[in-house]
């Protein structure tokens, strides 16, 4: 009897314990993630300009009508976002996978090589900008020294030229983004059972077949996760583009989040900015659903 009561008390305490333990996290996220998301919905239906408070009030769908029918910049930024995300993620995936496969091999100096190759990942977008502004500068940049060696023409200014600004930004972001893919894939590569490869070699499978039939299937979930996370982060990339190109020239490199930030920061138009944000949420919801479907997340937990 006593033992039973003791057990019961213990079970009851145990059933409350996990909730107490996650309570701080839940509260913090409710207050500063969930509530803000909800308030974006509210603001998007309001006229709300910090600089013109007398216009405040219910707007109905005004903000959305303006966004969808009267704002070419919205569509332009959406198109550029798609292009930016696709190019960055595709290139980062290919290079990141190659890099992970290389540093997963055994060779002299591997630990140092890993630390060096991954280091740009730790660096911020603004710092990346700073570094590449130095490199791209026509008078003191890398191109000048290459021109001194006869390898290039003088006077190339990749960031000022509308024809090259996109590639220049892509390259700078690749420098920082490839290591992320490589780290995630490397972590997963280390879990591939070695005897699978040995068995396959015994059966006469070559390098390419082992890669296709063992490595790639094993990496499947990580590839999906990394691709989607990276897509979201490139979608969300504000610091690099904001400081490298400022969204220019002529809004050519303005992504949707950059446009939101500009709307909030420069015109202080929180109502319209929230409508733009809603557009972003719709797109990101699509990514989340895709991931929950493909990644079977939570099933084996």
């Amino acid at each position: 009897m006593v033992a039973l009561g003791e057990r019961k008390r213990r079970r009851r305490r145990d059933s409350r314990t996990p909730y107490l333990l996650i309570a701080p996290a839940v509260l913090a996220m409710l207050a500063f993630l969930v509530y803000p998301v909800a308030s974006v919905v509210y603001y998007s239906l309001q006229h709300r300009q910090l600089s013109k408070p007398w216009l405040d009030g219910f707007a109905g769908l005004d903000n959305f009508t303006r966004m969808l029918t009267a704002d070419p910049l919205f569509w332009q930024s959406l198109a550029f976002t798609a292009k930016w995300v696709f190019v960055e993620v595709a290139l980062q995936f290919v290079l990141g996978l190659a890099l992970a496969l290389i540093v997963n091999e055994t060779f002299v100096g591997r630990a140092v090589a890993r630390a060096l190759v991954f280091s740009p990942w730790a660096v911020s977008g603004v710092l990346t900008t700073g570094i590449w502004v130095l490199l791209y500068n026509p008078t003191t940049g890398l191109s000048r020294y290459l021109a001194d060696l006869g390898l290039m023409d003088y006077g190339a200014a990749p960031l000022a030229d509308p024809g090259t600004v996109f590639s220049a930004a892509v390259l700078a972001e690749l420098w920082r983004g490839v290591p992320f893919f490589a780290i995630l894939l490397l972590a997963d590569l280390q879990g591939v059972p070695k005897d699978l490869y040995e068995a396959a070699s015994v059966d006469g499978a070559g390098r390419a077949r082992r890669f296709l039939h063992i490595t790639l299937p094993h990496l499947r979930d990580t590839i999906i996760l990394a691709t989607l996370l990276r897509a979201v982060w490139e979608f969300n990339n504000v610091d690099l583009l904001y400081t490298l190109t400022g969204g220019g020239p002529a809004h050519q490199t303005t992504t949707l989040p950059l446009y939101v930030a500009a709307t909030a920061a420069q015109s202080h138009d929180f109502g319209y900015g929230s409508a733009l944000t809603m557009a972003g949420f719709v797109i990101l919801t699509f990514f989340s659903i895709l991931y929950l479907r493909l990644g079977r997340w939570g099933v084996n937990r």
Partner: protein
Amino acid sequence: MSTTEMAPVAPAAPPPAPPVRKARKPRWEIYLPLGLYLLFTLVPFYWMVVFAVRPRGSSSLVPWPISLENFETVWTGMGFGVFFQNSFLVGVASLVATTAIALPGGYALARFRFRGRRVFLVSLLCSQFIPGAMMLIPLFEIFRTLGLVNSLSSLVIAETVFQLPLSLVLISGFIASIPVELEEAAQADGCTRLRAFFAVVLPLLRPGLVAVGSFAFIHSWNNFLFALMFVSDQDKFTVPVGLAFTLGEFSVDFGALAAGGVVAALPVVLVFAVVQRYLVQGLSAGAVKG
């Protein structure tokens, strides 16, 4: 760190079937692409460092003699000393807050099966899909209501909340990889659950905490957008905002920009060099696989 990992390469071949052929041959199919990639990685860093340490007016690519005048300019003249202090404060505060909230939460996720756990896990994942830029407007309004606009605490709160989901998942992954039997043994020996946690789990969790803490620190050190939007006084700028300010100057002082870049990069690169091993470990501890 590197020497301990490098040393075993040659002699570590396990006694049965030593892969002699693989270890001895210079492996060009590895060194060539790796070398090219290293060039791509390191030339930009080198470029920044050279610009930072060479004397003004010099255009030599071998910076000798080394001059620290650019650092003096940015550290005292442009206020990077203050920015550094601000960034450091925000970084450490969000590191502490993130770990303090994520540690019990991660423990609950790893060790208890409770109603709502799946929902919580999935919402953690979904919150990864909320971009910071999309949260600028509502967060700004919240901080305005709380009177926290233009204060470093707004940055700490925003950083912490954005770091929480990933930290929770990582920590619970680490705890799940520690055998529960160890705790049960301690409890059988008369420890309370709490004491078992402190005596058994926490010491084993150290690499995991290092990984999570450094993640949080690096992220908050690097974050630009929140610092740009929520803080307007120059004496409350963080390093990335100071750097962006330097970039935005009408005529860029390249020496100062490079020196500011070194100041911004040094802490994260140091932290990263020390913890990158734990990082890969931590990610393979099942955190990513879910």
